[in-house]
């Protein structure tokens, strides 16, 4: 086996193969980054709706809760399949990348909505009440009072969710998005040894994910709002 690996290695590191892998790595990263950023925005909106108290908005709030609870309990692969086939009906010419991006967005929204909500709840109730006493409306309260305190709580878990999702996007290869796992399958089908190809793909995922994970840990330590009030 080792001799076979040594024989294949020079050919495997040819220009086109390396470019394929690098482009695929970029797509993996883009899928997760764009999807999670969009998800964070929509998730923020959902969390905002959930802290409102108007009677009129009860059905909207119920819909938001249902959405969040539902999408956190179905697998990414199944979401991907549903979105894929719904796009077949709605818009025939959408690229698979868009399909995967939508699925990432749907899942990321539900998870980040929970993260943002727990961040907003981490701010002391008295701050909310004080803002209300000052006659600030919801948007003003969030922007001037709550967010400056809550973003430190929200950002680290949101970031670690993004890193977690880099790995989950491997499933997007199932609908044909040319990301890292798919590139690995292509190279394997070209005849390269599976040990070489998938070992390389694993290594690339590690190279992407590990520094980001370290950065996440660093961020958690340095932004960390200690409950003893040192900061």
């Amino acid at each position: 086996m080792l001799t076979r690996l040594a024989e294949e290695l020079p050919q495997f590191l040819g220009y086109y193969n390396v470019m394929l892998l690098l482009k695929a790595a970029l797509i993996t990263l883009a899928l997760s980054a764009v999807g999670c950023s969009l998800g964070l925005m929509i998730g923020f909106f959902i969390a905002m709706v959930r802290v409102t108290r108007a009677k009129l908005l009860v059905p909207v709030r119920a819909a938001c809760i249902a959405y969040v609870e539902f999408f956190r309990r179905i697998p990414f692969l199944v979401t991907l399949m549903v979105v894929f086939f719904v796009y077949q009906v709605v818009g025939r010419n959408t690229t698979v990348f868009t399909v995967a991006l939508t699925a990432v967005c749907l899942i990321a929204t539900s998870y980040t909505a929970e993260i943002v909500r727990s961040g907003l709840e981490s701010v002391n109730v008295k701050q909310w009440e004080a803002a209300e006493t000052m006659n600030l409306n919801l948007l003003q309260t969030l922007w001037w009072v709550i967010l400056p305190q809550a973003w430190k709580v929200i950002l680290p878990p949101a970031f670690s969710f993004f890193i977690l999702f880099i790995k989950d996007t491997a499933l997007a290869s199932q609908i044909g998005v040319v990301e890292l796992t798919y590139a690995g399958k292509v190279l394997n089908n070209k005849g390269f040894s599976a040990v070489l190809v998938f070992g390389c793909v694993l290594l690339l995922y590690f190279i992407i994910s590990y520094p980001l994970a370290r950065f996440g840990v660093w961020m958690e330590k340095n932004l960390g709002v200690s409950k003893t009030g040192k900061r």
């Binding site: 309990r73 697998p75 086939f85 009906v89 040990v195 994910s209």
Partner: protein
Amino acid sequence: MQYTLQFGQVFPYLPYLIGGAWISLQVAFLAFSGGMAIGLLGAMGKTFGGRFTRGAVGAYVSFFTNTPQLVQIYFLFFALPEAGILLSSYEAVLIGMTLNAGAYLTEIQRAGFISVHRSELEAAETMGMSLFQSVWYVIMPHVVKVLFPPLSNLYIIMTLGTSMAAIFGLEELTGRAFNVNAITFRSIEIFSLTAGLYFLVTVAASLTLTLLGRWLFRVKAKVF
């Protein structure tokens, strides 16, 4: 936009799908139990071990938590045969999920170990307990309360994670959904039904875990 949803064609396959959900739960349970054992050893190694053990456990954890489970199973399934190790799809999925879970559970259980006070360990040592005894009688009962919420959370995530077994031809819930899709071609219906089943299965698992936690360990955890 000319597509009429016809759930009627899909519903006869409901018992077949529920059977698949049962297999999903089994796989998740087996992988979780195996992962717990690995995680316990890993956490012990990382907390009490020497430099070499700590390094090895650290490498294992950061490798498995920083690469996708899917590709890990791909490696087991497609690359190991080159070295002469032939795994069936069930074995490959189970081993892959167990190793992956072991890495996450090492981290979770280590956090639990850290939450134990040093003086309690010293007291256990004074009582003449061995390492395993002090883990079992002193650390475990104390740690279970801290660890129950993240553990049950991971169990749910793993139940969802079993869906990737379908890619390797294992006929669990998603795998059976692919089969029914191939028979009926009602793709949207079948996959949204599958999503609903996953929702029900995980809610049931959460409920069971919460009740178990209340009964056995007096942990106050919420389902939602």
